[in-house]
Structures are given as C-alpha cells and as structure tokens.
C-alpha cells in the first residue's frame, strides 16, 4: 500500500515534471507613480510556500515552474501589499507595480486620524476631529475661531460668518468635500450652509495661495473634508449627544461608516439640533431659537489606481432673528441704541417667529479618478448645488406668512484636474473648471434685493511644486477666470435716474413687450464680463529640524458679487437702504505673507504675518439720509477704495510638565483705506490663553480654563450722523460707529474617555462658556446695537465611538 502510494505520487509528480515544470517567471517590481525599481520587496509564492526577494533592480526570478496558476503576494515596507495570480503556460515576464509613496500621495489613510496639509507655502492651519467635535452644537464659524487670526462676523449668535484676517463673505471660499459652496455667500447675514458634524478635518488657508480652488480668495480658503476612506473590512460609527442650558437646546449627530477591503465604502451621517431663545446675562433674547437638520451620504469605490465616489448632503436651517432688531426707521434705531436694551423681551420659547430665515441647501457630487503609471492622477468632478433662502420679515396683511426674500440659486460645476506627481520633487497640477449658475427670485411683494441672473464661469489653472533640496521647497501657480453675469432687473425709474444709469446704461433697458406696461419701473438687462488673473509663488525653507520659514506672495482678483452690483432696497435689521453700483470694477489684492514655525517637544510657536493691499476694495459707506412716509433711512452705497490690511497672528504652546500645557493665541490686525481712515468691521486686538491639565491615567482626563480677552476697537470709521427727531423736533446723534468696550470672558472645558469594550468608547465632556455670566457686546456682531451677547452656557456632551 505504502509503495503503491509512493508510486502514484511519483507517477503524478513525474508526469507533471516530464510535461511542463521547466518554465521560468521573470518578475520586476516597480514603483507605480514614477516607475522606479523597488529593491528588497518580499515575494511570497503561495503554492510553493516560499519567499524570494527582489534584487537591486527590483527583479526576481522563479525557475522550474509547472504549468498552471501561481499566486504571488508582494509586500514592501511603506507599500500596500499586493496579491496577483499569474497563469503560467510558458516562460513568463511580469511587471508588478507597487505604490511606494502611498502616504506622500495622500491616497490612503494609514491611521484614521492622519492630517495632511493641502498647501506647502500658504498660511494653513488644520483643525482635527477632536477639536471639531467640541463644536458639535455650534457652527462652522465658531469652530474656525480656534485658528489664530480667524474671527467671525455675526448676526446674533447663530448666524456666524467666518472672517480671516479681517475679510469675510465673498472674499472667502468654502469648500465642502471639494465642492465650492455656492450659497449666497455675499450676504453678511448668510451663514455657510454646512453642518459642522459632517466635517472630519478642516483646513484654514489664509490668503489666495490655494489657486486650484479659485482665484478670488482675497481673504482665504476654508477646506472641509469628510472622513477619509480606510481600505479594509470595517464597520464603525460615532454618536454625539448633547444639551446646553442657554437656549435649553439639544443636539444629536450620528455617523456610520462601512468599508471593504475591495475598496467599496459607504458612510452616512445625520444631525439634528434645536435651541429655544438664548439668554444674555440680564434678559431673554426673544426670538433667537434655531432648528437645524442635516444628513449626508458618501459612497463609492476607492482603489489606489482608480476610484469614484458619490456624495450628497442636505441641510435645512431655520434661524430666528432677534425680534427687537427689526426696526422701522432711523429714530426707532436711535431710541433702541440709547435705551441700552432690546425693547421686546418676552419669556422663553422654542417658537421661531418672524423675522427669521429658512435656508435649505442640497449638494450633490460625483467624481471619478484614475491614476496612470509614470504620469499621475486625473480627476473628473461634477457637482450640483441648490440653495433656497427664505427670509421672513414683519409684514402686514395676508403677506405676513410669505417670505419677503426668496432666492433660489442653482449651480452646476464641471471640474477636470490633472495632477502630475510621477516625480515627487517636481509636481504639477493643472485643470479646467466650467460653471453655470442660475438665480431665481420669485415675486414676493417686496422689491427683489437680488435680481434674477445667470452666471457663467470658466477657470483654468496650473500650479507646480519643486523640491530643490531637503531644506528648500518652492511652489508657484497661475490662474485665469472668466465670469459673465447676465441679469434681468426691474429698477424704479426714479432710482435709475438718481443713480445716473439713464446716462451710462441707457442701452441695457429692455422695452416692454406690446400690451405690457411697467408703470413706474423699467426693466434692465445688465450683462457684465470679467477677466481675472490670479497668481501665487511661495517658498518653504527648513532652517533646521526645529525651525522653518515660509514666504508667499499672491495676487487675487474678485469681480463684484450680485449684492455689490444690484442691491437696491431697505435692509430692515440695519434700518438702512443699501445701494449697489453697476459701475464697480473687480478688486485686486496683492498679499505678502511670512510665517515662522518653531517645533520642539514641549514648545511650539507659529507666527503668521501678512500685508495685503486691495485695490478697488468694495465696501458699504453711508452717503446720506432718505425721507419717506415711514421716516428717515440712512443710505449706504457700495464704493471702492484702495485698502491695505496688515497684521500678526501668533500661536504658542508650551508644556510646563507632562500634565500642564499653556496655549496662547493672539491676533493683531489693522486696516486702512486710501485716505488713511480705518476700515469698518476690522477685528480688535484679541488674546486667548488656555491652561490645560491632562492626565491620561484618569480615563484620559483633561480640564482647561480659557481666558478670552477682546480689546476695544479704537480705530473705526466715524459713520455717525445727526438726524431730526420729528416727535421732539430736536437733532439727535445716530451712533452706529463707536465699537463696544473691551471684554474679558472665561471658559471651562473638561473631558474624559471611558473604554466600554475593545472597540467602543464613551467620552463625556462638560463645558461652561462665559463662566462669570459677563455682559458684553462684540464689535463684529451686527445685533450689538440691540442686545448683549450670550450669558453663561453650560454644555454637556456624550460621545460614543463604536
């Protein structure tokens, strides 16, 4: 029996051998993106249970192979392991591509929390997930204030617009998952429509250095990224649940992520938030409730060489505006300012009455990318956004439940981007953008603040990055943008003539069709074309392992936005008439920046300095008073000046011991116009100091005390004027310029994390904002004329990771 078996085996083996077992496989292991040989790759031959190693040229040889399939598992340090099956039917040559620079190419997250900067020579700061989670109950604008030099311009406490180095609105680009947000960002009381809980990482880039996103980022770029895809079989999620005393609010946000080794993935995320009326230390802020719902879905297949993804997000925000901020005329405003507190103070309520905003935003994106050997990566993207903004005012009659402002903005964008990274020392990136936008404003019974318009954009850019040596890196970019705005707007004939448009723009009047009569109005069809050039050049130099400096020059150009061109009407919360100007030219910024970074184990320092000159800077300034049956209204017109802004942002962190850390963030900025007068709405000097105690042994316990000290802005343009009070017949001063006094607030925050099982953990965080319930007003809050800012707020947040 034994002999028989041996005989059989010999026969089988011998038969095989005699037939086909003299084939050779020659293999070559190469780096995918630049074709370089990979030395010492480990090749495991499954069928033979044998290992061999590639030689200096990346080659290896397997001899005496039999006909049939063999499976090779190729691995190398720093590369993704690759398994391939080869059909052997003769002598075979096989070239195998591994990707050695997978991390440098920013393709795959090695850990869940790896953060990568987008730019090399711009002033960029990253906010990580842990920081963002602390702001789960707040907004994007609140979270961004973690960055030194970033402040916000607010309308109350729920409408928070980020401000980078004194610039905001259309001067900032916000990218949500590589889609430039198109959400009527021209409006100062239009907060970005983003759920902070959908962000996993946020990059704040000061200035226009990141040209691939746009050439008009005079203030900067905010890049929001969702969670990175991990290519392995996994299922995990996160739920944040919280409540707060001020506003008696709650919030819940949950996300679930499923990924597969095959590259497929699907993430879903949803949030719900509600707050009632907030409280200042001395009174209720009536009608300041907020309700917000959002969700997003992210799915696709992502491999190293190619991939596609689909992303859809939806957000619906309903925001109450302080009731007392809706005013009738200038005397009404003076009375409220002088009384020092809001005239309407009611009991707590969750109800959101008029005035209020309701904004919904849809964002849909599809991308496909493919990576080519020895070349780089090609990325194609289409995105669609639909933003609907409804603003409800205090109105009379049947119109009280109708929105006074109703704007529907739809945007389609096509983007093609090529990233040549086969030579990591000399990367190049270029692309083309096509965009079509349509704004539709139905008749609401109030003159349209923004008319119907169509906008066409074309953009093309090229950026490049050279690593000269280990210490020196240079990058540069150039971009061209074309914009066309084609609007149809009804002007009141009296206004048209008062603006002087009857002389300059007589040719754009559209005559009424036969049988039509526009009465006291005329219809105009302004079409404007803008050509914009932007550029950037920067250098990063490592002095040694602890110090580096970066310097950057950028040129940015921003055409006037629809508000600047077309505004024409009464703005209730400001009790002023705002007038755009069809004659405005694009503003052009030249920004020089320099950063010094020192990094050590227990001491870190980052100093950002900048000097930004903006020619034809567009801003609103008061030009007079206009009388009506409702009383007088100040008139504010868009004008242009040559502005310059400069400042220093400091971030400093020092570990006294393993457990105590001191963090300081200080921002100093000045801004002047061409007559050396201060610019309006420039943030005052501010300094934040935080002492944190951390003890990892106590369930990762940490507690911090933060001091927020904002000085009084003593440089401001004096736009005050006197107006006649008809009731008394006296002239009274309307003080809309003087900034409120300095304030100093303290905040407390503590957190602990408990491991519930190997894969689940629970974090509990307790925070107290405005610890001493200090009354204060912020210069950059547009409702500062009417009411104090928020009083003490105690927040409790539970976070479950699973």
């Amino acid at each position: 029996m034994k002999h028989f078996l041996m005989g059989l085996m010999l026969f089988v083996f011998g038969y095989h051998h005699a037939q086909n077992c003299n084939f050779t496989l020659l293999g070559e292991v190469k780096d995918f993106h630049d074709g370089a040989a990979i030395t010492a790759a480990n090749i495991y031959i499954k069928q033979l249970d044998r290992y061999i190693i590639s030689d200096l040229d990346g080659k290896f040889k397997l001899e005496e192979l039999c006909k049939g399939e063999i499976t090779l598992v190729i691995s190398h340090i720093g590369c993704e392991t690759k398994t391939i099956t080869i059909d052997i039917s003769g002598d075979t040559f096989k070239s195998i591509d591994l990707e050695h620079h997978i991390e440098e190419l920013n393709e795959v997250a090695v850990t869940g929390n790896r953060v990568v900067k987008i730019t090399k020579t711009a002033q960029e700061t990253l906010l990580k997930t842990e920081t963002i989670e602390q702001y789960s109950h707040l907004s994007l604008g609140d979270a961004l204030k973690e960055v030194s030099g970033v402040s916000s311009i607010n309308t109350g406490n729920s409408i928070v617009k980020p401000m980078i180095n004194g610039l905001h609105s259309s001067r900032l680009l916000i990218l949500n998952n590589n889609v430039r947000l198109q959400d009527q960002e021209w409006g100062i009381e239009h907060a970005p429509n983003i759920d902070i809980n959908s962000a996993d990482q946020i990059s704040v880039i000061k200035g226009a250095g990141a040209l691939i996103y746009g050439g008009d980022a005079i203030g900067g770029v905010i890049v929001i990224k969702p969670r990175k895809i991990i290519r392995k079989d996994s299922l995990y999620g996160k739920t944040i649940l919280g409540g707060q005393t001020n506003g008696r609010g709650y919030h819940i946000s949950s996300s679930l992520n499923k990924s597969f080794q095959s590259g497929w993935f699907a993430n879903v995320q949803a949030s719900l938030k509600q707050n009632g009326d907030f409280e200042a230390p001395d009174y209720n802020l009536t009608n300041t409730g907020v309700q917000s719902q959002s969700f997003s879905i992210h799915t696709g297949k992502r491999l190293f060489e190619s991939g596609f993804e689909l992303y859809y997000s939806y957000i619906d925000n309903e925001i109450g505006i302080l009731r007392s901020s809706h005013i009738g005329n200038v005397n009404n405003l003076i009375e409220i300012i002088n009384s020092g507190q809001p005239p309407i103070i009611r009991g707590f309520s969750y109800d959101i009455d008029n005035p209020r905003q309701e904004v919904t935003h849809h964002l849909l994106k599809a991308t496909y990318f493919k990576r080519f050997k020895n070349f780089g990566k090609v990325n194609l993207q289409y995105d669609y956004q639909k933003n609907n903004r409804l603003e409800f005012d205090i109105r009379r009659g049947e119109l009280r439940n109708e929105a006074a402002l109703d704007l529907e903005l739809q945007t389609h964008t096509l983007l093609a981007d090529v990233n040549l990274d086969s030579n990591l020392n000399k990367k190049m990136n270029f692309g083309v953008l096509l965009r079509y936008q349509d704004n539709f404003a139905p008749n609401t019974g109030v003159r349209r603040l923004i008319p119907n318009y169509e906008k066409y954009d074309f953009g093309t850019y090229i950026t490049s990055e050279w690593r000269i040596n280990d210490n020196l890196l240079i990058d540069a970019g150039l971009r061209y943008d074309f914009n066309r705005v084609d609007a149809l707007k009804f002007y009141r004939i009296t206004r048209w003539n008062e603006r002087g448009y009857n002389e300059d723009f007589a040719d754009i009047i559209v005559p009424p069709a036969e049988g039509e009569d526009f009465g006291t109005d005329l219809l105009a069809n302004p079409v404007f074309d803008f050509h914009n050039i932007s550029a950037s050049i920067g250098v990063k130099y490592d002095l040694n392992s602890k110090n580096y400096i970066i310097a950057n020059y950028s040129l940015a150009s921003r055409p006037p936005n629809p508000a600047e061109l077309f505004s024409d009407g009464l703005h209730h919360s400001a009790a002023r008439i705002e007038l755009g100007d069809l004659r405005l030219d694009p503003e052009i910024a030249n920004r020089l920046s320099m950063t010094y970074v020192y990094t050590d184990t227990n001491f870190n320092l980052n100093v950002d300095t900048f000097y930004n000159t903006i020619n034809d800077y567009m801003y609103l300034r008061p030009t007079g008073v206009q009388q009506s049956n409702r009383g007088a209204f100040p008139v504010w017109e868009y004008e242009q000046t040559n502005a310059r802004l400069f400042g220093v942002d400091l971030t400093l962190s020092y570990d006294f011991t393993d457990q105590f850390n001191w963090l300081n963030k200080t921002a100093f900025i000045k801004g002047y116009d061409s007559r050396d007068l201060p610019l309006i709405d420039i943030p005052a000097f501010s300094t934040f100091n935080k002492i944190t105690y951390t003890n990892e042994n106590w369930y990762n316990f940490s507690a911090s005390l933060q001091s927020e000290w904002v000085f009084e802005q003593n440089e401001f343009p004096d736009f005050n004027f006197e107006t006649n009070n008809p009731s008394t017949g006296e002239f009274v001063l309307l003080d809309i310029s003087t900034p409120p006094p300095a304030y100093h607030l303290f905040h407390f925050y503590s957190e602990s994390t408990f491991a519930l099982s190997e894969r689940t953990s629970l974090s509990i965080a307790l925070g107290i904002n405005n610890l001493f319930d200090t009354s204060y007003r912020n210069y950059l809050n547009r409702l500062r004329f009417f009411a104090d800012d928020l009083g003490r707020n105690i927040t409790l947040q539970l976070k479950l990771n699973y």
């Binding site: 003769g90 075979t92 040559f93 297949k301 596609f308 689909l310 859809y312 809706h326 005013i327 009738g328 005329n329 005397n331 009404n332 005239p343 309407i344 849809h362 849909l364 599809a366 496909y368 493919k370 289409y382 669609y384 639909k386 205090i394 009379r396 009659g397 119109l399 739809q410 349509d438 539709f440 139905p442 008749n443 609401t444 019974g445 109030v446 003159r447 149809l488 707007k489 009804f490 009141r492 009296t494 206004r495 008062e498 559209v510 526009f518 009465g519 006291t520 219809l523 009407g569 009464l570 206009q626 009388q627 009506s628 049956n629 409702r630 009383g631 209204f633 008809p726 009731s727 017949g729």
Partner: protein, 215 residues
Amino acid sequence: MNTNKSNFKTMKTIFLNINAMKTTKFLLGAVLCFSLFLTSCSDDDDGGTPEQPNEEEVITDVTLTLTNITDTNDVVELKSVDPDGEDGPTAPTITITGNFTAGATYTGVMDLFNSIEMEDITEEVTVTEPDEHFFTYAISGLDISFSRSANDIVRMDGNKLGFETTWVVANNPGTGNITVQLWHESETVDDSNELGTQTGGEPDVDLTFTGVTIQ
C-alpha cells in the same frame, strides 16, 4: 513572447477600464438624473422676463383730514405723498391745506393709500388688523386739546386705535407742528394720555407736518 504577454495585459487593462467606465457612466447618468429631479423641483420656469414686483405693503399717500364738526366746509388737510415708496429716492411731498379756526372742534380721520398698487391700506389697518396697529400723535406749539373719538375703533385690549380723533382748538392763534405715527406690532400700547404711547413697535408711518396754523 513578452510582447504577447503585455498585449494580453493591455487587453485586460482595457477590459477593466471598460468595466470601470461602465460603472462610471452609470453613476454619472444616475447623478444627472438626480440633479434633473432636483432641478425640476423648482416650482417656476425662470427663463424670460421676471414678474414685475408688486409692492403691496407700501403706503404712498398719508392723509389726515380734519373737518369742523359744525361746518363741513371748514377742512384742514395734512397730506404726505411719496410716489416711489420708502426705498425710492424721491422724498415725500408734504402739503397742508387750510387753517384751524380758533375755538372750533374738528374730527380727524386718517387715510392710507398705496398708489403703486392702487390699494386701500386704511381698510387693512382698521378692519383687518386693528389689533396690530396703533396711531400716536404729537402736537407742539398749537393750543389744541386732543382726544380719541368716542366712535374710534377699539382694539381687543381696550385701547382706541386712534383712527378717528377729536381736536378741540382753543381760542389762541399760533403756528406749530403735528406728528402722526402709525405703529405696527407694538409690545405695549396705552391711550390713557389720549395722544398715545407705545413700546416695541416699528413705525409704518412717521410724519411731522410743520407750520400748521390756528387763526
């Protein structure tokens, strides 16, 4: 032989690409369909001429007509006309027709009109929404005893609207000013001093007529 192999490999790559392209095409198609679906949600077709704005809330003509209770031909009319509304650049034209007769008593009635939409606002204020409105008056330099008429409209809270008023002119000639304000959505209103006081409202009308004469 190597060429053969690489050909085969190229073919395989192409095949894979086709697969990937199919998926991509399918997905792009799906995305386009979805955006079309979203786009079609827009309720209106926005091509062509936009609808001309109708301005239903504007008060262009404010008139306070004061009629002598004993002589209907003795009328004082205080009128302000702002044909292009509150945000139009034209200032209102204020006209004062007639003089008060010393010693006489007048009944004042307000009239509000929107000449842009040819709409009667008086009815809206007095009939539809009297509880959300309140007139207040101020008289300076004129010896007039002012009160809200007995048949003035009474709000739900018991305060008189101030739509119909009684002006008892003293035997004392002079020239002075009359202010008329119409408040919308006041927090509190009070007619106990007849001229009226309020808090928290915003003015729909805020006009002062200067140079009114008693002779």
